[in-house]
């Protein structure tokens, strides 16, 4: 069996919702051992509700969304608001490499579980704090979810129809923030590997979104220009849009960047008369007459399925792709061949399709090895075997509602 890239790394993760837990899932997919810490008092709310998919779940172990965000992890119950719970977490940290948390800034310090305190226990610990607005600054205690991060980061403002509202963006925003955090943690692991030194990393989820539009921010800092949302359009390229195709709510995206692609495009759609005039002869003119151009292109796309249109145009060397829905992604032959989806058996909710790890490593394949943990599923293993606690000690902590 091949080892994972992060095998041998142990992560203690007390975060909840999406942006925190997905950091450790990404690491777990690459072989890290992740121990998720929850409690009855502080259940990960994705076990109960999913804002993005508009779902509610009963009990603690019925959430398919929780399943998707917590594959491969172990789960223990520790009530961190009890002093003995904080002590127990420290014992776990002592045998771990990374701590991940997304409480409001200051909460972990109050519980005696801040970076300085945990560094006492494990000198080279890598400690990640992720929050909506960052651990410092005047708004550090402000709360937010994914839609807030995109709103603060400028991406909401920049996404939408030119004559419409800004976009309220959802789960994808959390997972971008998580990927960014995971990158920072693994970079710190490399530093530790080389020097033996751990460190404290703070991530602001709002900033993880703002950096994705750096060039747009520079247009303001350089020129004072405030760019605005403009649908699918590009500043220079045209055509650059989604065009209606045959079928119900089917669309193909087409983007053309130069005259060579334009000529290939016109050939591929059968050299219509409208393309012969002067109006569309160069990139500048095409952009200038974009609305009319979009209408004319739709005359062609509407008589093809988005698959047909894509194939015809790609054969000519034109960048075209369908706007895929969930069903089309699942059935897509390309993704099938690449193993895009796999099935994961879950003891409560049964067999579920899951999106496979998105990187293909030749030596250290990332994989989903098990369903997301049931609530407290690994109390015995973690407390009994890993921390070598006696049955009496465990029972006493259960009675005291520390393990709860």
């Amino acid at each position: 069996m091949n080892r994972g890239a992060l095998e041998g790394i142990r992560v203690v993760d007390s975060s909840t919702a999406w942006a925190g837990p997905f950091v450790s899932e990404l690491m777990a997919l690459m072989g890290a051992e992740v121990i998720k810490v929850e409690s009855m008092k502080r259940l990960d709310h994705s076990r109960v509700i999913s804002l993005s998919t508009r779902q509610r779940f009963t009990g603690t172990d019925q959430s398919s969304v929780f399943n998707d965000l917590n594959f491969n992890k172990l789960d223990v119950k520790i009530n961190l608001s009890e002093p003995k719970g904080a002590e127990l977490l420290k014992r776990l940290v002592k045998v771990s490499d990374v701590v991940i948390q997304n409480f409001r800034p200051g909460v972990m310090d109050r519980l005696g579980l801040g970076y300085e305190a945990l560094k006492e226990v494990k000198a080279d610990i890598i400690y990640l704090s992720s929050s909506a607005r960052g651990a410092e600054g005047p708004e550090r205690s402000y709360v937010g979810y994914a839609p807030s991060f995109a709103a603060h980061g400028g991406l909401s403002y920049l996404t939408g129809y030119a004559d419409g509202m800004p976009a309220m963006m959802m789960g994808e925003i959390d997972l971008i923030s998580a990927t960014t955090s995971a990158f920072a943690v693994v970079a710190a692991l490399n530093h530790r590997q080389r020097t033996g030194e751990g460190q404290y990393i703070t991530v602001s989820s709002s900033e993880t979104i703002a950096v994705l539009i750096g060039d747009v921010l520079l247009d303001y800092t350089m020129n004072g220009r405030v760019q605005f949302r403009d649908g699918n359009r590009d500043e220079i390229m045209a055509p650059h849009n989604c065009y209606r195709c045959k079928g119900d709510d089917k669309w193909v995206s087409i983007a053309i960047s130069n005259d060579e692609e334009w000529r290939a495009f016109i050939d591929a759609i059968g050299n219509p008369d409208w393309a012969k005039g002067e109006r569309f002869q160069d990139t500048y003119l095409r952009k200038e007459n974009e609305e009319e151009l979009d209408r004319l292109i739709t005359q062609w796309t509407i008589s093809h399925t988005h698959y047909e249109a894509t194939e015809i145009l790609q054969r000519a060397g034109v960048a075209a792709a369908p706007s895929f829905n969930s069903e089309e992604l699942y059935n897509d032959p390309h993704l099938k061949e690449r193993g895009g989806y796999i099935e994961v058996e879950h003891p409560v909710i049964g067999k579920k399709a899951a999106f496979a790890p998105s990187w293909k490593f030749s030596k250290t394949p990332a994989k989903i090895t098990r369903h997301a943990p049931l609530f407290g599923e690994h109390d015995d293993y973690v407390f009994g075997e890993l921390l070598e606690m006696s049955q009496e000690e465990i029972k006493a902590l259960i009675d005291e509602k520390v393990i709860d």
Binding site: P138, G154, L155, M169, M170, G171, L189, G214, Y220, E337
Partner: protein
């Protein structure tokens, strides 16, 4: 110069425009030594794209290029010639990591497959970032940012709560998704680097942009397979509508994410209706969903008589997850970001002083750095003469024959 997280890591970048360069920028800003290869005379495609200071196009002043290439060294090289190929292989031999974004066919044609490059450098890590990955029926398909947004499953969901399904699905703003793909590739790359530190083994990593985006919308991507539903950009109803969501106010929009019942208690207080907290109609979030239409007119009117920042700060005082939808200038002037020194000034020899966003993380021991992007071929002499041992005379001949 303080310590850097990826100090001593040698990266060769053979990539252009957004995803590949952003991936290696993330490494360079954390201290990796990145050598970027550009086409002689022309350079990276991003150099042709704005923003430009005062809107005057200049290959050394593109804001997009300057942003995506901080902290790198730049050389020019045409690896298609025999000598160019030999020099490319010398650089591969020097590198720990190769980051490339060329079409798979092109790399095969040049004799630069992983198997071939491994002959030169046994421990090489090679990260390939392509629209559809290195395998599968679409592997040779062309795609721009627009196409990736749609074929990766995000476009079909945008804009959320669309005014009409008759209108086209949308891309996310700016180059945001291309950047997000770069983050995903960077995470895989530093993980492979960590693994190499343990086992001594290099490897290839196949990163598909389509799959990188699907990873972010993974919960929607399995919706059909698991629940036989196809989430779209349709109207948000029921529980989700009662979450608050996007609301128009006096000077723009705010987003409220009232995910849990306690948020509503605070929200009722905010809007001057604390008694609603006791109201049977609003006893839990499901009940609120049922009766939301009864209170929506009041909430909308309340919002319309206040500004975004009044609602934001007053709401946050009470612990309400509310965010203003910030325009681009407001992102740059955000006091929270200023308070965190999120914007830094970079002084570039041609473009002058420009204000950039730094990385979205703060490391306690290994600070982020943002050094100016290279001029075209700026480091040719340093790399070719000092690292690879070419003479000044060689350089003249190489330049004249168009190889560098």
């Amino acid at each position: 110069m303080g310590k850097k997280a990826l100090e001593g890591t040698k990266v060769l970048e053979y990539a252009s425009f957004v995803s590949g360069p952003y991936c290696s920028k993330l490494l360079a800003d954390l201290g990796a030594e990145v050598i970027k290869i550009e086409r002689p005379g022309v350079g990276d495609k991003a150099r042709e794209r704005g923003p430009f200071p005062e809107d005057l196009p200049h290959p050394e002043k593109s804001g997009l290029f300057l942003y995506l290439n901080t902290s790198k060294k730049g050389i020019t090289l045409d690896p298609k010639s025999t000598t160019g190929k030999k020099m490319f292989l010398e650089l591969v031999k020097w590198a720990d990591i190769l980051i490339e974004d060329k079409p798979p066919k092109e790399m095969e044609g040049l004799g630069f497959t992983y198997e071939e490059l491994k002959e030169v450098n046994q421990q090489l890590i090679m990260t390939s970032i392509t629209p559809y990955g290195e395998t599968g029926p679409y592997r040779d398909y062309k795609a721009y940012h627009l196409n990736i947004c749609h074929v990766g499953g995000l476009g079909y969901l945008m804009p959320p709560n669309s005014p009409s399904l008759e209108r086209e699905p949308l891309k996310a703003g700016g180059h945001s998704v291309d950047c997000a793909c770069g983050v995903n590739a960077a995470l895989a790359t530093v993980s492979a680097l960590y693994s190499r530190g343990v086992t001594g083994e290099g490897q290839s990593i196949d990163v598909s942009k389509q799959e990188s985006l699907m990873n972010l919308v993974r919960v929607y991507a399995v919706a059909y397979a698991n629940d036989k539903v196809n989430p779209n950009r349709g109207p948000i109803m029921g529980t989700a509508a009662a979450m608050g969501g996007l609301k128009k106010c006096k000077d723009g929009y705010i987003i409220a994410t009232l995910a849990e019942r306690p948020h509503w208690a605070r929200f009722f207080k905010l809007i001057g209706k604390p008694e609603w907290d006791e109201d049977e109609r609003f006893k839990d979030t499901l009940a609120i969903a049922d009766h939301y239409n009864e209170i929506d007119p009041y909430i909308s009117e309340w919002m319309m008589s206040r500004t975004r920042y009044e609602i934001y700060h007053q709401g946050q005082e009470l612990g309400c997850p509310i965010a203003p939808v910030r325009s681009i200038d407001e992102v740059v002037n955000d006091p929270q970001l200023k308070g965190r020194d999120f914007f830094v000034e970079v002084d570039h020899p041609e473009a002058g002083k420009t204000v950039f966003p730094r990385g979205p993380y703060v490391f306690s021991e290994t600070p982020w750095q943002g050094n100016p992007a290279p001029l075209l071929g700026q480091h040719n002499e340093e790399i070719y003469c000092q690292k690879l041992g070419y003479t000044k005379e060689d350089m003249v001949r190489l330049r004249e024959s168009g190889i560098i």
